[in-house]
């Protein structure tokens, strides 16, 4: 990675050592919360029940996610991790048969209150998908389109933000000469970084990542992992992953979901040391040790 952005809150690297401090991500007041060794709740989920039609997918999930930390959601396929993630930014609204009952608060905002502006919420809570999903536009337009949508109109400001976002994900040096070619011409890993840049350009407080590396090769995965780790302290990241080593490498906290009594449930939640080294639940123990539960 060429431009590893500096100015981490709890990064051991001094900001001056960053190769490009001009491209550093500016830390806004909201984002510069306490480092995650001082747990402060950012996302509070209480009694989440989620159904598709009549099929319950998640039952009675209560979970608190701390500000500025990276939390990994692990568990077998089909236990509702992705559904959990999309209920946080109300992307579940787009699925006609999906019903969500919960009290979810993100940074004191009641997510399921009827008064909430979903668009503003989704701007605050960004999301990255399993398969990189750049729009069929140029690299530049991919980042500009959502920025314009949120009211940024000045050409120079847009250029500035595009460069900043691309620098932040270490993509600037790779694409600065071909900003106007299609985003589809990028490799899978680059596309995923572009998607992350696009989300970060909106300055979200929370970033939800749904298996962001599962479609990528090991090298691209390493780059994305590094990128996610660089977000620690700046925003609250929630990562769904099937790769337990990845969860061990990047997460501060881990939450284990599994199916029990016909619906996905949160089995155990805690620091990654607790989940991976001293799990309390037999199911968790079996899963993190690679045995069948």
């Amino acid at each position: 990675m060429n431009a590893q952005p500096g100015k981490n809150n709890n990064d051991d690297q001094p900001a001056a050592a960053s190769p490009d401090s001009s491209g550093a991500f500016t830390v806004t007041a909201l984002q510069s919360g306490p480092p995650c060794c001082v747990p402060e709740p950012m996302i509070e989920v209480e009694r989440l029940c989620l159904r598709y039609g009549r099929t319950p997918v998640l039952q009675d999930v209560s979970l608190t996610i701390n500000r500025g930390c990276i939390s990994a959601l692990i568990g077998p396929s089909g236990c509702g991790k992705t559904s959990f993630l999309s209920s946080l930014n109300r992307l579940t609204d787009l699925i006609p048969s999906c019903r969500v009952e919960a009290r979810i608060r993100i940074d004191q905002i009641d997510v399921y209150s009827p008064k909430i502006d979903v668009i503003a919420l989704r701007r605050k809570v960004g999301m990255i998908f399993q398969k990189p999903n750049p729009f069929p536009l140029s690299i530049r337009r991919n980042i500009e389109l959502p920025l314009r949508e949120h009211g940024l109109r000045h050409r120079e400001q847009l250029h500035e933000q595009v460069e900043l976002a691309l620098r932040h994900v270490g993509l600037w040096e790779e694409v600065k000469d071909r900003l106007d070619v299609s985003a589809f011409s990028l490799s899978g890993g680059q596309q995923q970084r572009l998607c992350i840049a696009r989300a970060l350009a909106l300055r979200p407080d929370v970033l939800l990542l749904d298996e962001p590396c599962s479609a990528l090769d090991p090298i691209a995965t390493g780059v994305i992992e590094e990128l996610i780790e660089s977000l620690r302290g700046r925003l609250t990241a929630v990562v769904v992953t099937h790769n337990l080593d990845q969860a061990r490498r990047i997460a501060d906290y881990a939450a284990f979901f599994s199916n029990r009594d016909g619906a996905g449930r949160l089995i155990e939640h805690g620091s990654k040391e607790q989940i991976f080294q001293t799990p309390q639940d037999a199911l968790t123990q079996a899963y993190v040790n690679g045995r069948k539960g």
Partner: protein, 302 residues
């Protein structure tokens, strides 16, 4: 692991060296020949038809034929006013059906669930409408536009009747276009806090344009070929129309009239048929070209 499984001998295990031209290979060959024959047959019919029209019609084609008014019930002169009427009828038809069709397609594809009662009702009605014989549309157009709305035999009434005919095709094709746009665009746009309208405008509409063009090409084809519906609505006066409220004869009616009602009109009927086919080709090419241009400006995929 010890390998003590019993060896099962299957009839599919061919004895070594026995690669023969089997019965199934023969069947394959037969099927290939039949499929090719059918394709050739269909193509041949089309080529024959086209060749016949070009053969008989090419001699008629001239600048005078395209611009002059028809004389002596169409035996002499040209198709100038008829071309104008055809163009006007088509313009009215498209001006009404395009915005209406696009809006309905958006509603059906983006704002109603596939299996909702409303969606199914509308879709079923459209499919039935698309299959209704054109003469029925003609009678309806006559009763509703000409008589009830007092438009009389006019280009306006004809165009509106054609719009009713074209709408089902246009809507269904455009809807398919919208549905073929990947769900990732919708989710991705929503996750970035983009409104549905802007996702529609910037991402989904461009993705649906190929479908729209298919609908447009089919619709224009149907509109230009229409005779039965227009006889009752736009009439068959072959003068130059002065306004949309004038009666005007479309090319297809002109061809019908020349070949059925006018003795000695065959030569000019062939000429008009050739003009009609050329017109269809030109309009369709222009529509695809324009859509392509617009698409390249909106989307960059290569």
């Amino acid at each position: 692991m010890p390998c003590d499984n019993p060896v099962i001998i299957s009839p599919l295990d061919a004895p070594p060296g026995a690669v023969r031209f089997t019965r199934s290979r023969l069947a394959d060959l037969g099927a290939t020949i039949v499929v090719w024959l059918m394709a050739m047959l269909v193509t041949a019919v089309f080529v024959w038809l086209l060749a016949d029209i070009v053969w008989h019609g090419a001699g008629q084609l001239s600048w005078q034929f395209l611009t002059e008014p028809s004389r002596n019930a169409g035996r002499a002169g040209g198709v100038g006013p008829i071309l104008v009427s055809t163009g006007l009828i088509l313009a009215v038809c498209l001006a009404v059906s395009l915005p209406l069709g696009l809006a309905t397609a958006v509603l059906l594809a983006e704002f109603t669930a596939v299996d909702s009662v409303f969606g199914r009702l509308v879709r079923r009605s459209l499919d039935v409408l698309a299959g209704v014989p054109s003469i029925v549309f003609g009678l309806f157009g006559n009763a509703f536009f000409c008589v009830y709305l007092r438009m009389g035999f006019s280009i306006l009434a004809g165009g509106l009747t054609l719009a009713c005919m074209v709408l089902p095709i246009l809507i269904r094709a455009t809807e398919e276009g919208f549905r073929s746009a990947p769900q990732e665009y919708r989710l991705g746009a929503a996750a970035l806090g983009m409104s549905r309208t802007s996702a529609l405008l910037h991402l989904l509409l461009p993705a649906a344009v190929p479908g729209l063009v298919v609908g447009l090409v089919l619709g224009i084809g149907r509109a230009l070929a229409e005779t039965a519906a227009l006889i009752f609505t736009s009439g068959y006066v072959d003068r130059m129309p002065g306004s949309l409220m004038d009666s005007g004869r479309s090319l297809s009616i002109h061809i019908y009239d020349l070949s059925m009602n006018v003795a000695g009109g065959n030569a000019h009927a062939y000429g008009s048929a050739l003009v009609l086919i050329l017109l269809l080709l030109v309009i369709n090419a222009a529509a695809s070209q324009m859509a392509e241009r617009w698409l390249q400006r909106k989307l960059i995929t290569v």
